[in-house]
């Protein structure tokens, strides 16, 4: 495998890690918002506590996967990075607003003791930002596939195809789906949260159905708005799509059967199928019609040293990360 392809594989794997881990953190924020819309204040507070506890120790480490994707992209494919960023100026800037406000609102609520704004305001900001971020990142990903982005195109260009808006929506419902599935298991681990298992199970099922529906609506627009990538999708990505669909339905089944650990696996694989299918269809283009990965890549010697550094770095980071996940398998509820 060439260094360029290896770099792409690392970027896609990091993106998957981001989607599966940080995605669920954002999805949790979405459920926080919906919980706030209901009438039952006490029940909403219960859900919020669990959601907040599930983020606590891991959200920052989960978030670093995104930084890693960005750094790999600008180091590995510098020529494309500037043009990708400027043509996606508006959605990326809004995603950043979401990232900043989500993180700040989370810690301000957790540690602020209401000193600045009341907790419920930070809750609202946290929830809205948690929905905004995946939506904007979804739009950005969709827009890369359309082939309509050009350096200097209008800042609104990424929003002008229904496909990209639907991609944003898909990101929102999928992150909500992941979060609900993960939270089922989290809730089952502690007697105080047992009663939330059914709540999140129901939410997970709704979100799974919603994700499937969005995908179905999206498909025709995909072929219309992103023809190049869609054609490659038909050629290469059908196995991904099949696995994803299978695991999507499988998730419904195992949720029905109340097998929450298995549900985590099927949910994750369903998401990997969608993102993996897109990545395979996007290859070898970074910005369709403008840059292929090969054109945009850094000099071979730069890529090689980066890859060596990455191997060394991953040897330290991956075991540490797994240790973090292991220590906090059960969410930390009021003990830190």
């Amino acid at each position: 495998m060439t260094a360029v392809n290896l770099m792409l594989v690392i970027i896609v794997l990091s993106l998957l890690a981001y989607a599966l881990l940080a995605g669920a953190d954002f999805g949790g924020g979405g459920w926080d918002m919906l919980a706030g819309l209901g009438r039952d204040r006490a029940a909403a507070e219960d859900q919020r506590k669990l959601i907040s506890a599930s983020l606590g120790p891991v959200w920052e480490a989960n978030h670093v996967w995104l930084i890693f994707v960005i750094v790999c992209t600008f180091s590995g494919f510098p020529s494309a990075f500037g043009d990708i960023a400027t043509s996606l100026e508006l959605p990326l800037a809004l995603a950043l607003v979401g990232i900043v406000l989500r993180g700040a609102a989370y810690v301000y609520r957790a540690y602020g003791e209401g000193a600045s704004l009341p907790d419920r305001w930070w809750s609202r900001i946290f929830a809205c930002a948690s929905v905004l971020t995946p939506f904007m990142l979804g739009v950005s990903g969709g827009a890369l596939a359309t082939g309509k982005l050009r350096p200097g195109s209008s800042p609104l260009a990424p929003f002008q195809a229904p496909f990209t808006i639907l991609a944003g929506l898909l990101a929102v419902v999928v992150t909500a789906f992941l979060a609900a599935v993960y939270l089922c298991y989290d809730a089952s681990l502690h007697p105080d949260t047992q009663h939330l298992v059914d709540v999140f199970r129901r939410k997970a099922i709704y979100a799974a159905v919603a994700s499937g529906a969005v995908v179905l609506v999206m498909l025709p627009f995909f072929y219309r708005d992103a023809p190049v990538v869609a054609a490659r999708f038909t050629d290469r990505s059908l196995p991904f799509a099949a696995v994803s669909a299978l695991c999507g339905f499988g998730s419904l089944l195992v949720l029905w059967k109340k097998k929450y650990v298995l549900a985590r696996a099927t949910a994750a694989i369903a998401v990997i199928g969608v993102l993996g299918g897109w990545a395979a269809a996007q290859y070898p283009d970074l910005l369709v019609g403008v840059y292929t990965a090969q054109d945009a890549a850094a000099a071979p010697s730069s890529l090689d040293t980066m890859l060596v550094a990455m191997c060394g770095g991953m040897l330290v980071v991956v075991p540490s990360f797994l240790y973090l996940l292991k220590v906090f398998t059960a969410p930390v509820i009021e003990e830190h």
Binding site: P57, E60, Y106, Y108, G112, S302
Partner: protein
């Protein structure tokens, strides 16, 4: 607003905002290693209470540092696309390594902040090591990237793409002098801020052991590092003189190349007359500092066109703010050492009396360190102008051509100012003195003993 102006304002603002948090991300883990270590060793609950409080503060500061750092990584592309397209591969290795260092920091920060009950006390203390080490390594890699922009060494070309030889990059004296100066600055900002908070508490009458220990840790950190920082600053200035003569000229407002160049304290550099108005010149000072003799020739700004010269009016002011604040802290340090020995000879305790004078001096070290740090960065960045990569690419060429950036500048400022205001309120709330659980009966100098296993009571 043109693209380049907007890009510069937004970058300056986001960098300054981020760095205010980054310094604590670098410094606090080292301080916590000490305080939590003291608790493990002595079982003194005061150390435990301080550690818990600072861990909470660190949690908030680290989170804001992390999200504002994410903004910067996107801004490379959003604001400086041509810079990234040309040199992104060359400095990619540094950023890749920084990403890993940050990764470790975030992972172990999670373990540290939420692991009080899930890890043994010793394992919990040990998680601080990777945080502290990787925080320091983050500084190293990021500042090396910045140093490379100041002094782009090891440049090569391969298949039409620009490369930088990693060995050359890591053996650059610009890099090492900048890194060392910044790391010590981060520690001084941390120490100064801690000292300021506890000195303020004592001024308001909270003269308990908790405040005395907190003040001591902060104050000795900042004062102890000041002499080292003076030495490192001198080294940095020499390196700047050797590699970026125009930056040095702008720092001191030197227009005419020649020997016997004075060092000018304060004053305002007038761009039209090329003279410093209202400064106090020390004859031959700069020549002496740079070459140890009055005959040392200093390259002035007359060797370049105005367009290729940094704005000395700003740079000189920033430089003097940094040096002035540094000297102030240095004077406090010198006076503290003298007082310490004097009072030891007389057998007086505490060695540094907690009088209003000393408490106000301790408070001053906090803002002074932070102003010096920000002033230093203005010198580094402003002094490199008009270049983004010294002598190779101008800031104007590097910037985005997008016209719609004014809204993004405004949004950045509004959001960051709002978050900073909320943060100040939260920090004020957190700074409410010793927790009530801490044995109130313990006198100011008597440690309240309890074995580390008794943490549950305070957790």
């Amino acid at each position: 607003m043109s693209g380049v102006d907007a890009a510069r304002i937004e970058t300056a603002f986001s960098l300054s905002f981020h760095i205010l948090f980054a310094v604590f991300g670098v410094g606090m883990p080292w301080v916590l290693l000490y305080t939590e270590g003291r608790w493990l060793k002595t079982g003194d609950q005061t150390w435990y209470a301080l550690t818990r409080k600072w861990a909470r503060v660190t949690a908030v500061l680290f989170a804001i540092g992390a999200v504002s750092g994410t903004v910067l990584s996107f801004e490379f592309g959003l604001l400086w696309p041509t810079f990234m397209a040309t040199y992104g591969g060359a400095i990619g290795l540094l950023f890749t390594m920084e990403a890993f260092a940050f990764f470790l920091e975030a992972i172990f920060m999670g373990l540290y902040l939420y692991g009080w009950k899930r890890l043994t006390p010793r394992a919990h203390w040990l998680t601080l090591w990777p945080i502290a080490v990787s925080g320091t390594l983050s500084t190293l890699f990021i500042v090396f990237a910045n140093a490379w922009m100041n002094d782009p060494v090891g440049i090569g070309e391969s298949k039409g793409k620009i490369t930088a030889d990693p060995w050359a990059v890591f053996s650059s004296s610009v890099g090492w002098s900048e890194v060392a100066h910044m790391f010590v600055a981060a520690m001084m900002c941390t120490g100064g801020a801690v000292a300021a908070v506890y000195a303020w508490g004592m001024l308001r009458g909270r003269r308990d052991r908790y405040h005395k220990l907190g003040l001591g840790v902060g104050l000795w950190t900042v004062l102890g590092l000041t002499p080292i920082q003076m030495f490192l600053g001198d080294w940095s200035a020499r390196v700047v003189g050797a590699t970026q003569p125009l930056k040095l000229a702008a720092m001191e407002g030197v227009y005419t190349t020649g020997s016997n160049v004075p060092l000018t304290i304060l004053g305002y550099y007038d761009q039209s007359t090329h003279k410093i108005i209202g400064g106090i010149p020390i004859p031959d000072g700069l020549s002496l500092l740079m070459g140890f003799k009055t005959g040392t020739v200093i390259q002035g700004m007359d060797t370049a066109t105005v367009a290729d010269t940094p704005n000395s009016a700003v740079i000189h002011l920033a430089f003097d703010s940094m040096v002035g604040c540094g000297v102030l802290v240095f004077a406090v340090a010198g006076f503290a050492v003298a007082t310490w020995f004097l009072r030891r000879r007389k057998g007086l305790t505490p060695r540094i009396p907690h009088t209003r004078f000393w408490l106000w001096s301790a408070i001053a070290t906090g803002p002074a360190s932070v102003i010096a740090m920000l002033g230093g960065w203005e010198v580094t960045e402003g002094g490199r102008q008009p270049w983004i990569v010294y002598n190779l690419m101008s800031v104007t060429d590097a910037a985005t051509k997008s016209g719609g950036l004014a809204w993004s500048v405004v949004a950045t400022i509004v959001i960051y100012v709002g978050l900073a205001a909320a943060l100040l309120l939260i920090l004020r709330k957190l700074a409410t003195g010793a927790p009530p659980e801490l044995d109130a009966g313990a006198g100011p100098d008597i440690p309240s003993q309890a074995p580390p296993a008794a943490e549950e009571a305070l957790a």
